[in-house]
Amino acid sequence: MWDLINNSVYASILLSVAIAIIGSLIVINKTTAITGSIAHGSFGGIGIAMFLGSGIILTTSVFTIVLAIILAFITIKFPHRQDSLIGVIWAVGMSIGIIFLSLTPGYQSDALSYLFGNILLVGNQDLIFMGSIDILILISIIFLYHRFLAMSYDREFLNIRGINANMLYTYFLILTSLTIVMSVRAIGIILILALFTIPGLIAERFTKKFFSMMIISGMLGLIFMISGIILSFYYNISPTPTIVIIAGIALILSLLKK
């Protein structure tokens, strides 16, 4: 049991790094719907991996990176129709997953665990993958902090400065897709969106600097996850929805404060 708890705490710490950086960027770039689309679409990768018997992490990573590139293209080329097109990718990705699962012999109960996630079931392999993605995210933010911030404010100006804003935006969506893959085992496809946006939404209200927003957002994410794990133990309930409900209550309370 302590191994389970240990791994869930390690997972929470590793996830909080991604929540701090990618979650905050999702909020300030207003890419919540795109993130939801990649998260739900990632089920296609899981379905394909199960059908082929290939590694879930590798197959889903490749699949979600492709989705991220498609979504980047769509949102850049068709900005006025992006909401509908994002919804289409969302549904098509999930449908691919369902079709491949139905073609896979036997009952795929494991597939459902990726929909809802369980932070208590995170294994050592998952932790290694999470750590690797965190390192990539940290290196990216160290070098691209000012560019990401400028991209959030005014992409056109970034182009004037000789920096390819569309390329940077596509890279950000690829990082988002890898963050989703690292989180599906722990948080689940359906609830990822809440955990990656609520801390940022709260933090944004109380800071003038993006750097502070990332720090506050990561700390809030960690607090929500640890308190959710503790409550789920005491009351024998599923941890991920508990975490999301705690985060939701915190968001409501923050909105009440002027």
Binding site: H146, L149, S152, D154, L158, R161, K208
Partner: protein
């Protein structure tokens, strides 16, 4: 020294010509106002000057090179109404963005010093720690001007710099632009700019009609107003 040279420029979107046979030039440190009706092609021309759009025909040179080749000399002030005001970013950090360039990932001491000096020059250094949403329209516009000036451009292009600003703010912004010692191209539907010390006026409505010389001198420039049938000029500037 020729700063801007446009020769026989044509641009079409789908099958419709938006700009036809545009010709003008601008010398170093001159000030040009681009005016005209909505949908007449002003913004398209600005996007071509910025290198975002490529003309179908013709030639465009900024200090001897194409806009794409010479983007680093351009300072651009977009319309401020398009941006998210909720971003957790201070005025100082927005201004610093003007120092970003290809291959540069971190700001150095010189960048910060330049940003500080630019804020002082525009008399908005007292706002440097404020969030953009806490500023008035005129102050926001000055922040965007500061972000452009901090890159030490040779040519400053502005898109509707006085839109959505109160009259006092408009005057302040136009006073500033008038005195900048760089080549300036200002796209505006606000005719007050014509009463400023501009060197050239381009009236764009598919084709360009260029008025050279200082601000419109009525009735000396009556011909420009009458011949080109610019309604709002007739009504407000020319008083015809």
């Amino acid at each position: 020294m020729t700063a801007v040279e446009i020769k026989n420029l044509y641009f079409k979107y789908d099958k419709e010509w938006i700009l036809e046979d545009i010709n003008f030039s601008l010398k170093d440190k001159e000030f040009m106002a681009i005016i005209g009706p909505n949908g007449g092609g002003k913004t398209t021309l600005l996007k071509i000057l910025l290198g975002f759009l490529t003309p179908n025909k013709g030639e465009i040179k900024l200090y001897g090179k194409t806009p794409k080749e010479n983007r680093k000399i351009i300072g651009y002030v977009p319309q401020h109404t398009n941006f998210s005001l909720d971003l957790p970013i201070t005025v100082f950090d927005i201004v610093l963005q003007g120092r970003l360039k290809k291959g540069k990932f971190f700001y150095n001491q010189k960048d910060k010093q330049k940003a500080k000096e630019t804020l002082e020059y525009l008399k908005i250094d007292n706002l440097q720690n404020k969030k953009i949403k806490d500023l008035s329209g005129g102050q926001r516009q000055k922040v965007l001007i500061a972000r452009s000036l901090v890159s030490e451009p040779k040519i400053l292009m502005m898109d509707e710099p006085t839109s959505a600003i109160d009259p006092t703010g408009q005057k302040e912004i136009l006073d500033l632009i008038e005195n900048f010692e760089v080549t300036r191209i200002v796209v505006s539907h606000d005719i007050k700019i014509l009463l400023r010390d501009v060197d050239k006026i381009a009236y764009i409505h598919k084709k360009a009609v260029i008025h050279e010389g200082p601000k419109l001198n009525i009735p000396k420039d009556r011909h420009f107003c009458e011949v080109e049938l610019i309604d709002f000029l007739k009504d407000e500037s020319c008083g015809i």
